[in-house]
């Protein structure tokens, strides 16, 4: 460096110059010596600023992290599973715990009522049954706890599909049982025709979600019981028994059934008994005391004999219960739904029959709007009546000899006509056939069916 050598020779002077004179030259020097570093620092500062901005701007931050987050979590789970579980437990654990607790509480509630109801006795019974059946005690206990309610009991005439008797546990829901019994019978007939043989019993049950229709068939009638849940063992046998009882007691009425439900009064009693079966095998206070005493005594005795005796007792209690249930509980029941009634015109009074008064100008229009009518001519002066019978009310109009009538219908010896003679008010009504002559009219002999 020649410059350097030259400067070195006047070192003192140069330094003195710089101190005394210009700070700018120091700057210059700094620029010369450090300019690379300074530029780098400026770069870093800008980068830092940008980073700060991104961190403070939430959206930009998310954008930045998202791509790597999933990968990071996966990695973390692989490397530090326990750590993560520990971290997440306070959140997820609580949710799971709440759900489980609720389920357990429900189960416990059912268990409680069951256990309270039956004391230790029922436990012994379960244990015994478990041992006999090979199922676990828990399974048996669970089975006993399944809910079961009867909503409707229908006694149906097999041949006609007509409803003979109906009981309902809950009056608030209205089902059209007449239609149910008709359609059920149609379904049974259909499946019998397609699948069945003569000696087969036919459809035993129909399922719809949790609801089922259980059916038991006898000779002339069948019983359809609409239930919720699973029926207890022996319920079908009970159905059959009640059905047999009814068929036996009402054999004649049912065999020649003409649709008059009055002939079957009292038929609902056996069905009430059946209905009370779903009220559960509740024990009376007296029975409970006996049960408690018996249980206490039995606990002292050997386990084996305890089980055996409890079994015998249980059988006795069941039949006592059935006897007690024969007196119906206060549960409300109805028979036969209400429906709309349309009055038929009575044949005796009320001249409310079908009289159509139309202005004279219109009849021609009315007549042409109908199919080519059968036209007849009156050969006598006769009262028009509201129904095909001399007992029926008169419409209040006499048709005279020569009047033209349109023949609308016929029932036996009676004809339903509309007067169409020009210039007269249009009237319809029944009159005896012999007072009309018509080219096409047949004189049908014999009584009407």
């Amino acid at each position: 460096m020649p410059n350097h050598g030259h400067a070195g020779s006047h070192q003192d002077q140069v330094i003195g110059d710089q101190i005394s004179g210009s700070a700018s030259s120091l700057d210059n020097l700094r620029q010369i010596l450090f300019h690379e570093q300074i530029e780098k620092i400026e770069d870093v500062e800008a980068g830092l600023e940008e980073l700060e901005r991104r961190i403070n701007d939430e959206r930009a931050l998310v954008k930045m992290i998202a791509p790597v987050l999933g990968e990071a979590i996966r990695l973390k789970i692989r490397e530090a599973r326990d750590e993560l579980i520990e971290a997440l437990y306070p959140i997820i654990g609580q949710v799971v715990q709440r759900a489980v607790t609720e389920a357990v509480r429900d189960l416990a509630r059912t268990l409680d009522t069951q256990v309270k109801r039956s004391f230790d006795f029922r436990l012994a019974w379960w244990r015994l049954r478990a041992r006999i059946s090979g199922a676990s005690e828990a399974q048996i206990r669970l089975r006993e706890m399944l809910p079961f309610t009867i909503t409707d009991i229908l006694l149906i005439h097999r041949e006609t599909g007509l409803l003979l008797c109906h009981l309902r546990s809950d009056q608030s829901v209205a089902t059209d049982t007449d239609l149910i019994s008709g359609m059920l019978t149609a379904i049974r007939d259909f499946s019998q025709d397609t699948l069945g043989s003569v000696d087969q019993e036919g459809v035993g049950e129909i399922m719809h979600g949790n609801q089922r229709i259980l059916m038991e068939t006898a000779l002339y009638t069948y019983l359809a019981v609409i239930v919720d849940g699973i029926e207890p063992a022996g319920f079908r046998a009970e159905m059959r028994e009640r059905l047999m009882e009814i068929e036996h007691n009402y054999a004649d009425e049912i065999r020649g059934y003409q649709g008059d439900s009055q002939t079957l009064t009292g038929v609902e009693e056996p069905l009430r008994t059946l209905m009370s079966a779903s009220a559960g095998q509740k024990l009376s206070e007296g029975q409970k005391r006996v049960l408690a005493g018996a249980a206490g005594a039995l606990l002292v005795v050997l386990v084996v004999s305890c089980l055996a005796i409890s079994w015998v007792w249980r059988l006795g209690a069941a039949s006592a219960e059935r006897r007690a249930a024969a007196i119906p509980p206060s549960a409300t029941m109805t028979s036969v739904p209400t429906e709309t009634r349309t009055p038929l015109p009575s044949p005796t009074p009320s001249p409310k029959a079908t009289v159509t008064y139309t202005p004279t100008a219109i009849p021609s229009a009315t007549v042409t709007a109908r199919p080519a009518p059968v036209v007849g001519v009156m050969i006598g002066n006769v009262w028009l009546r509201s129904a095909p019978s001399y007992d029926a009310a008169r419409v209040g109009v006499i048709l005279n000899t020569g009047d033209q009538v349109e023949i609308l219908s016929r029932s036996g010896e009676w004809i339903y006509v509309r007067r169409i003679s020009a210039g007269q008010i249009e009237v319809t009504g029944w009159l005896p056939a012999r007072w009309i002559v018509a080219p096409t009219l047949l004189t049908t002999p014999g009584a009407q069916p």
């Binding site: 006609t160 007449d178 007939d189 649709g259 439900s261 009055q262 199919p371 219908s409 047949l442 069916p449």
Partner: protein
Amino acid sequence: MSAITVNKKVCLLGDFAVGKTSLVRRFVYDRFEDKYLSTIGVKVSRKTVVAPAAGRVIDLAMILWDLAGSEEVDKYRESYMRGAAGAVLVCDLSRPETFDHLPVYVDEFLVVNPQSQIILAANKSDLTEALRLAPNQIESYAGSLSIPYFLTSAKTGDMVEQLFRQLGRLLLAGDLAT
């Protein structure tokens, strides 16, 4: 006034699309629909009418079995007919063949229910332009069976009420006879 309730099963018989379902719909709900949905199997409806019989007032519940139409005798229809106290025969005034098939239904029905009451409905009387059956044909056929007949229209409601009420009377009268 607590009346006696009597239930009677009634079948509607006749070919496809003659208007069996429409007649029931008119009688029970007083409605009519133009679109045709063929009945499959059977549809059960009910209408109760109040009728006097033998000096008493009777609630007559007609359980109406609306059967699918088909000309062949089929075993399903036979079991649906079982136990019916009455039948409404239906033909279509605009389709003569539906009238020609009526004897098939009558024979089948009477074999299953010999003691029953039958009534004839010649339907669609409102189709004045398309009528292909003369009322006197209907008249003479009904006469030969000694059964009442009505020229009905499920569309306008003409004679539908009268048809079913007349059948109701016959059903109760038949009861008194037995």
